[in-house]
């Protein structure tokens, strides 16, 4: 039975934006504290692999999620350790870690496929949609809100929490202060390093969850480089959203919609070359970054600048 075009596109847009949302919230948190997380892509890939691997090993999806989170925390710690403790260029560390995790996951995945035959590499079940039945049949609302799984609801809740936390709590205010002016924050008695470490570590866990969403809710297996640039799109979404939670949230939805549109353009066969259809999200990302140039609202003032206590 054909489903209406609008339902397909919107439901798909939400599914495709969920990984962006996880990675973008992680990136946003780290950037708020003043540290760039350029390793989002690699951390997503690692989360996708380890979430899948631990589920395959234990047969338990929750343990898989836990595995992805632990990987994310460790990778976040590594990034924090190198970029905060040693003040190494955040760009270089981030790029290095992307390469590291790309190699690591490909290596592990080949080891795994060497040790089992093809049919034993699939997960038996995935995290399914919570709401089913008549509610999921309602036009638009059904496909956008009801035909989603727990992880999508989780990330929406996390965005709301983040917005509340950074605007309404003392700790949130301190976090923003650390990203704006670490020296002044230090004078005011805020432990700059603790805030930055924690932000970057949690950032890793969020990015890893974004990757795990792909293997544990969508496709039941791992493929080398399966994140296909989603971490970079997430970074673009943060800039386009001008570092605000609502802005970032809707930017991610926009990129998700663009990804869904790139599919539908092809299926409807409206004469646009497929290369262009596939480029849509990336073109949008570039346009987004160009469009915010020169606008007043920039990111945190101390973003990307390593802070050394005794300088």
């Amino acid at each position: 039975m054909p489903v209406s075009l609008l339902d397909t596109t919107l439901g798909m847009a939400v599914r495709m934006s969920t990984p962006y949302l996880f990675a973008a919230l992680g990136g946003l948190l780290a950037q708020r504290s003043g540290v760039y997380n350029f390793a989002l892509e690699g951390m997503m890939l690692g989360g996708a692999y380890f979430g899948y691997f631990f589920t395959l090993l234990t047969g338990n999806l929750l343990l898989g999620i836990l595995g992805a989170v632990i990987f994310g925390l460790l990778s976040g710690w590594l990034l924090a350790f190198i970029s905060i403790r040693f003040g190494v260029s955040q760009m270089v560390v981030g790029l290095g870690m992307n390469t590291l995790f790309m190699g690591l996951t490909s290596f592990c995945s080949r080891l795994l496929s060497n040790s089992r035959d093809g049919s034993a590499l699939n997960l038996d079940r995935l995290i399914g949609n919570i709401i089913s039945g008549p509610a999921a049949e309602i036009p638009v609302i059904g496909s956008v809100l009801c035909s989603q799984n727990l992880m999508t609801y989780l990330i929406i809740a996390l965005f709301v929490f983040y917005a509340w936390f950074t605007r309404r709590t003392e700790y949130g205010l301190a976090l923003r202060a650390v990203g704006e002016n670490p020296a002044a924050s230090q004078t005011a008695g805020i432990n700059v390093f603790r805030y930055r470490y924690l932000s970057v570590i949690i950032s890793g866990a969020l990015a890893a969850l974004g990757g795990a969403y792909l293997t544990l809710t969508q496709v039941s297996r791992f493929s080398e480089n399966m994140t296909n640039g989603r971490g970079w799109i997430a970074i673009a979404a943060i800039c386009l959203g001008r570092w605000s939670p609502a802005g970032t949230f809707f930017s991610c939805l926009l990129f998700g919609l663009a990804s869904a549109a790139s599919n539908q353009i092809q299926v409807l066969n409206i004469g646009i070359p497929y290369q262009f259809a596939l480029m849509v999200p990336y073109i949008l990302a570039i346009l987004a970054l160009v469009s915010i140039q020169g606008k007043s609202s920039h990111g945190p003032a101390a973003l990307g600048k390593p802070y050394m206590k005794n300088r």
């Binding site: 054909p2 489903v3 075009l5 339902d7 397909t8 798909m12 599914r15 495709m16 990984p19 190198i82 040693f86 003040g87 190494v88 290095g96 870690m97 390469t99 590291l100 790309m102 190699g103 690591l104 490909s106 290596f107 080949r110 080891l111 496929s113 060497n114 040790s115 089992r116 035959d117 093809g118 049919s119 699939n122 792909l214 969508q218 496709v219 039941s220 297996r221 493929s223 080398e224 480089n225 399966m226 994140t227 296909n228 990804s259 869904a260 599919n263 539908q264 092809q266 299926v267 409807l268 066969n269 070359p273 497929y274 290369q275 596939l278």
Partner: protein, 347 residues
């Protein structure tokens, strides 16, 4: 200073791990080269025993292409009492050296399971005129090299015939990596021609993933096709194939497996598999060499379903679920192709 050395160590580990991905642990049945090779036969056989080397890109346990070639070689080794050395995971950069090693170690035949090995093989073959080389699905060849390749359309045509017989919406979906490469267009035109030969009203919607590994995107692509009314979806885009097939089975629409026989995935929704079997080509190479009738061809020999180089394997468990006319149409089309009465416009 401390900072710098820590950084250097981290970067070195990164590089090392990246390199490791390219040369992961070889599994059972592989050798480290001709010297450390794993010979599948007793040592010290009589002088007339043919020494054959077989290499592949990737692992022996992929459950598809390489496994088929490997098992084919094992069967040949037993049947003709060959001494065979196997080597897996031979990357593109090492092919020349690996082939050269085997040739200079006294192997009579050096075979590869990987089509992209054919170019370095032609170069090496020129230096070893007494050795017979062979490459599966090759697109270039040499005087002392045996090369076969498939038609790339005959099995797809048959898949199209079957899809055309079972579709109710008259809308079929085809997913490939791109939609304008020669191979993608060959897939499209043969699949469509087959379907339209039994039902002229059929429309084939052809879409591209742009990635062999973005499984989630491939799955969404198939979702779009199914939502728009396609009731057969055929995907040939690397790792996405199995994911797309799973979705089709879940959504209750027909699907076809490309490259690998995955008929076992469902006894209801998998129509069949379009395969191109390396074992058939390897057998023709070894038998040609043994009988002395075929030791090389300068241009690759193209073969199709008649030679067994390609096949459309119908899912046997559908025999009693579908109308007999479906299978009659496939048999008829097979006979027509073999008789040379079918032509497909290729790019």
């Amino acid at each position: 200073m401390k900072k710098k050395s820590f950084f250097a160590v981290t970067m070195s580990i990164t590089l090392l791990l990246t390199l490791l991905a390219g040369c992961s642990d070889p599994g059972a049945g592989s050798g480290g080269g001709p010297s450390g090779g794993d010979s599948a036969g007793q040592t010290g056989g009589e002088a007339s025993r043919l020494k054959v080397a077989w290499i592949c890109d990737g692992v022996l346990t992929d459950g598809g292409w390489n496994t088929n070639g490997y098992e084919g070689m094992q069967k040949l080794a037993e049947e003709y009492d060959l001494e065979v050395s196997y080597q897996e995971n031979v990357p593109q950069t090492d092919v020349g050296d690996v082939l050269r090693n085997y040739a200079s170690e006294g192997y009579d035949m050096v075979l590869s399971n990987e089509q992209y090995h054919c170019e370095p093989m032609v170069e090496v073959a020129a230096d070893f005129p007494n050795v017979t080389f062979g490459c599966v699905n090759a697109y270039v060849s040499a005087e002392n090299m045996i090369a076969f390749s498939g038609t790339l359309w005959q099995h797809n045509y048959l898949a199209g015939v079957m899809s055309g017989m079972v579709t109710k919406s008259n809308k079929l979906g085809l997913i490939t990596f791109s939609t304008d490469s020669d191979s993608a267009l060959t897939y499209l035109s043969s699949f469509r021609a087959g379907a339209q030969s039994v039902n002229p009203d059929i429309e084939v919607v052809h879409v591209a993933t742009g990635s062999f590994s973005d499984l989630a995107a491939g799955k969404e692509m198939a979702t779009s096709l199914i939502d728009q009314g396609c009731d057969v979806v055929y995907c040939n885009s690397g790792d996405c194939n199995a994911t797309v097939m799973e979705l089709c089975i879940e959504r209750g629409v027909y699907t076809i497996s490309a490259i690998v026989d995955r008929n076992g995935m469902s006894d209801e929704y998998v129509l069949g598999s379009t395969v191109n079997l390396p074992s058939t080509q390897l057998r023709m190479m070894v038998e040609g060499k043994l009988s002395g009738t075929h030791t090389g061809n300068v241009t690759p020999i193209v073969g199709g379903i008649e030679d067994g180089i390609e096949a459309f394997l119908v899912n046997e468990s559908l025999q009693d679920k579908l109308d007999a006319s479906v299978f009659e149409a496939i048999d008829e089309a097979t006979a027509e192709i073999i008789a040379g009465n079918v032509t497909v416009e290729l790019p």
